[in-house]
């Protein structure tokens, strides 16, 4: 077991280093100049700025400095566009927002997926099953940002009609304001997980051990909860890693639409403004976060399903 975990961690570290290197060189190879402002400056001022940001050193030296700062000192430097903010502070201030949003979305998606999937299996081919599957089809085929934009519009109509803010469509701070963005963020994943749960449940139903349980005379409810559910959840756990990635990336658009001060929004903005340090900082951070989370999910799955441990 331990060697399994160890191998996973090594893999994670190597990937993170590779990602950091990729991001660094990609940023510096990308066209554009982060120091340009709309009001141009003389070559002397430019030279001053280059020195100020350490951009006049050879690329390899900059790379070395970057890697050592990031991985030895955990220091991502200072933002180019917000000249008084350290990237670490930006991450510290805004990552929790994205994390909470993502967590809420994942919880909703997982709980909902398990719930709805189980319901469809329980009421197979009857009304609840059909209704849920219809909704699932919508959830899978409509891109979640289109859904969100459209939903946002209808919520403003609702709010205007009701005269008070039933569902806030912008801002962040209270639980009230978190509902709408989280819902839209997890819609696609919810649909996917419901489907997965359903097929998983149906698969489990025909297995020998369920037949044995039925033959033994266990009540259907007991079979459902103790056997079906537990085994059917396994595939859900595997896809949690993927779901996590989907929700984190989907977060960018949702954060923009709902004006949520999350890290995803900062990353996209930084890319547009060529804010090197923020791009590299958030890129490495996000990447590391995702990589580590995926590995954790793999380990959890390894705990839950002994087959995996043995085969790898």
């Amino acid at each position: 077991m331990l060697s399994f975990i160890f191998r996973r961690m090594v893999s994670a570290v190597v990937t993170i280093l590779a990602l950091a290197t990729l991001i660094f060189f990609a940023m510096h190879a990308a066209p554009g100049d982060p120091l340009l402002e709309s009001k141009a400056s003389s070559p002397e001022i430019r030279a001053n700025l280059l020195k100020h940001y350490g951009l006049d050193k050879p690329l390899i030296v900059q790379y070395g400095l970057f890697m050592s700062n990031v991985f030895l000192k955990w220091d991502f430097g200072i933002s180019y566009s917000q000249k008084n903010r350290r990237v670490n502070d930006i991450i510290r201030d805004h990552f929790p927002v994205s994390a909470i949003l993502g967590l809420l979305a994942i919880v909703m998606a997982t709980v909902g997926g398990i719930l709805f999937g189980a319901l469809t299996a329980l009421f197979r081919n009857r009304l609840p099953d059909r209704v849920i599957m219809m909704l699932v089809i919508f959830g899978i085929s409509v891109p979640n940002f289109v859904f969100a934009a459209w939903g946002q519009y209808w919520f403003t109509v609702l709010n205007a009609w009701a005269g008070w803010t039933v569902i806030p469509v912008a801002g962040w701070g209270t639980f009230h304001e978190m509902i709408a963005p989280a819902v839209f963020l997890e819609v696609g994943t919810l649909a996917y997980l419901t489907r997965l749960m359903r097929s998983s449940m149906l698969e489990v139903v025909t297995t020998d051990y369920i037949r044995t349980a039925k033959a033994k005379g266990l009540s259907p409810l007991r079979i459902f909860f103790s056997h079906q559910l537990r085994n059917a959840i396994l595939p859900i756990i595997t896809t949690l890693g993927v779901a996590l990635a989907a929700i984190t990336t989907g977060g960018f658009v949702i954060e923009n639409l709902f004006a949520i001060p999350g890290l995803g929004r900062y990353f996209v903005q930084a890319v547009q403004q060529l804010d090197y340090t923020v791009i590299m900082g958030t890129g490495v951070f996000y990447g590391a976060y995702l990589i580590i989370m995926v590995q954790i999910v793999d380990v959890i799955y390894g705990f839950v399903d002994p087959r995996i441990r043995v085969s790898k």
Binding site: A18, I140, V294
Partner: protein, 472 residues
Amino acid sequence: MSVETTKTQFSPSDFTAASRKDSLQQLSRPSLSYWEDVWIRFKKNRQATVSLCVVVFLLAFSFLGPFIWIVEPSQQNLNRISEGPSLGRMALVVDESSDEQTIEDPSFLYLPEHDNPNIGAPEKFEIIGTPSTLGVEIHWTPVEGAAGYLIYRSEKVSENLEAISDNGVVIKEITSGNEIGFVDRFDIQPRNYWYAIVAKSIDTTSTQYKIVSAKVVRAIGIEAAQTESKNLVKVGEMIKMSVHPLGTDYLGRDMLARLMYGGRISLIIGIFVPLIYILFGTLYGGLSGYLGGRVDNIMMRICDIVATMPYLLVVIILYILLGGHVGARSVFALMVAMTSTFWPGTARLIRGQVLQIREEGYVQASKLLGSSTIFIILRHMIPNTMGLILVNLTFAVPTSIFSEAFLAFIGMGVKPPFASWGTLCEEGVKTMSSSPHELFWPAVFICVTTLAFNLLGDGLRDATDSKMRSRE
């Protein structure tokens, strides 16, 4: 031959020689190859066949459609901006007036000498000619001491200035005293408008005003009308304007044509990207699984590293790096970016499958008989994973299309003059409340495509899945 139930003793005369049959047993059903079997089972699945038809329709729509609906998707027509879907509208032919915006009367002063604190309203304030979507021409008589005028416009019934200014906006601020007319062309729709005019002196704004209303008709300039009609048109006639069944966009371009050409890009990206990365993933995974040992380990390690890289980050970075900001290169950049992040999934899958098949009897036998590695891979491995590959491919298409739409939404889509359903969605979201049709159609196409390919994939998987087969 009668049957004697109680006979227990048999003699040779009770038996006759059986006739020689070439086949020992009659098969209960005709012999089917793997693929014929798949096709039969697939056809039985109604959902799957319907989605296959839909897919074929979409492909035909995008690639053959332009030969039937011959309209240039990049043809701009600024007089037909954001029109809703319709099957033909009538328009009045008008003389394409000069595109002057304001009309001057040089006999009046540009700027008065002094401020007139009691400045009044123009005596006359009227609409000249027929107010049309090509322009509403308004004239007024100049006021003594005026240094300029404010012209308000409202779309709601307004009897006084307060109503107009509360419900409308200053559509034009005239800043000289000698202008006596104005042609309003700002976003004119065929509806009623109310205009108000307020005179301004150097420091004072008049408290008096005049109001006039205009009922705007849809119009078309005589030159444009002539190009659209085969007969000779005259000013004052009502003619049918060219049809845009799905409406027009923010530059007056035909939505149907844009959807067709956009579909080409979306489907090309949506189909080619999976083709490429699945091909690459299959070869990579197949080779790795077959060769095994150290090579397999290293190859899978690389695969893992690429797999765990956050897809969006890599795509954004690659997109910027490859100069995705210019029209032609953007399609290429997008395709490269997407293929480089998706292949590890397929590689892993195929490798797993290959590892399984490698141990099968017929592969061992083939090796014993002396087949080369390549022969085995081509003759045994690949055909047996075909089902899996095909299913993967069909599921990969909607993911690709989805991803392309998503990237377009955050500004990393294909650039003009190319358009894809994703970029059309992105533009449509911006005008969602005023012209919903610009978002609706591309969104519908994306959803239908995604759905169709998903269901198709489901059907294929059911049809090719050996576990399901044995359950018949």
